[in-house]
Symmetry: C2
Subunit: 271 residues, 2 copies
């Protein structure tokens, strides 16, 4: 059983000079491994590339891809987490010139979420922690995740499988570790992530599958006062797929037909 690697070599610890530790100066991808393959590998690599461009981190994407695939082959099943940091730095925020990014791979078993989350649906905790609006970082899966840490610390009750987060302007944005979708009539809606949030891999996959099915899809600013008009709600991420949402803040929904249709499409197509 493999455990973790840094820059291709087995390793259990990282240099104290790493800017990932000092400043959260890097990105990550949490990838599902099934039968030795990374699910949705191309999308993960594309998001990583986008993040590196926006953070000015030089990236050898072919090298990362080879290492990730080799790691998945050995792992066979579980979670492959990739952390890409800007590498070592000296004191101060200035970028090291040149930067030598560090590739960290960590293996973990697939999380043991209750099977009923996908089968029956989940309740969402109404998080009070709001997401700040920062267009420069919005959409990226970067290492600055204190907002998610604070939000997840708000509840212990296992009756809530996830929490829903708004931004500081009151828009619905995402779950703590998921994206969120709404069905309103024949339209599939999901929050715009231009100011905050993580543009999830499974969110992209759902959007593409829905468009391929001829569904109307809208990426929009959504507010809690619109929830009463929604017919179905679900969350998604790249590890668990889709969970129907049954309850949130006094609203309730069924695990509806469009959610079920997308679930079966995802289950059939996700690798």
């Amino acid at each position: 059983m493999i455990d973790s690697r840094i820059d291709g070599q087995p390793a259990a610890s990282v240099a104290l000079a790493d800017r990932g530790l000092a400043y959260g100066d890097g990105l990550f991808e949490t990838m599902r491994v099934e039968r030795g393959k990374i699910a949705l590998l191309d999308r993960h690599m594309q998001r990583l590339q986008l993040g590196c461009r926006r953070l000015h981190i030089p990236l050898d994407i072919q090298l990362v891809r080879r290492e990730v695939c080799s790691f998945a082959q050995e792992l066979q099943q579980g979670v492959c987490k990739l952390i890409l940091t800007r590498g070592d730095g000296t004191r101060g925020y200035g970028l090291p010139q040149p930067a030598t990014p560090r590739r960290i791979l960590q293996a973990a078993p697939l999380p043991q979420w209750p099977a009923q989350n996908a089968h029956f649906g989940v309740c969402l905790y109404p998080c009070q922690t709001r997401l700040a609006i920062q267009p420069l970082l919005a959409g990226l899966k970067h290492l600055n995740r204190l907002e998610q840490v604070l939000a997840r610390a708000e509840w212990q009750d296992p009756a809530f499988a996830e929490g829903l987060m708004l931004d500081t302007s009151g828009r619905i944005i995402e779950g703590v570790f998921s994206n969120v979708f709404f069905v309103c009539g024949n339209t599939l809606l999901t929050p715009a992530l231009s100011g905050s949030g993580v543009a999830g891999i499974m969110r992209e996959q759902v959007l593409e599958l829905a468009a391929g099915q001829g569904l109307a899809v809208e990426i929009a600013d959504l507010y809690p006062d619109q929830l009463g008009r929604m017919d179905e709600v679900f969350t998604c991420n790249s590890l668990y797929g889709i969970w129907p949402v049954l309850e949130y803040a006094g609203h309730s929904w069924p695990a509806g037909p469009l959610t079920r249709r997308l679930q079966s499409l995802i289950n059939g197509q996700d690798t």
Copy 2:
């Protein structure tokens, strides 16, 4: 010459499971060491305690204080950087129960800023990177510092010793690695940090010294269109003390008498 320690032991690397790396889940303090002592130690420890309370990180402040003092004694002169993370975690944002925070101490020489910065003054680069508004994290010196990384990457020209950052609402907040003060008539002004920014140790010290001198002090929302009314501007941090600001975005100021008075007070009282 000592280099770095983790939890009291010499160490050059940190466990990959550390949540400081995974999420930037921790805090730091960058402290000046002179003649074996930490300058403004009490203030550093107080800010660390405040940060730990707000992030729900358990803290043995007496242990941290002892380790920091012992480290400073060995270092004699330079910079002592303390990183306090929430310690190891397993996958996911949920807090480890119980958390075992990790204390990381790193030594560095004092930065070699040009002596003229303090003697004559500096020019500030007008950063385009805006600070997001997040009251839950405002004021803390936490490890989520991608905004500072992006801001510092905006300029290479050494003619700018620092950059000035606004928040996403256009308020003046701080330098990339400093706080900022303004003198308007007989009043000393500094931006409120209730939405973003780091409440610097030297900022606190300047506020206290100014109040002790009977100066009028205001902590306020400040906007760039007020800059024309300012008589003096300076930045400060706990490593360099005070730098007069000579230029920013078409405005210019002298290194004025109140700035000089505060500089000499700081130089006389900073340990």
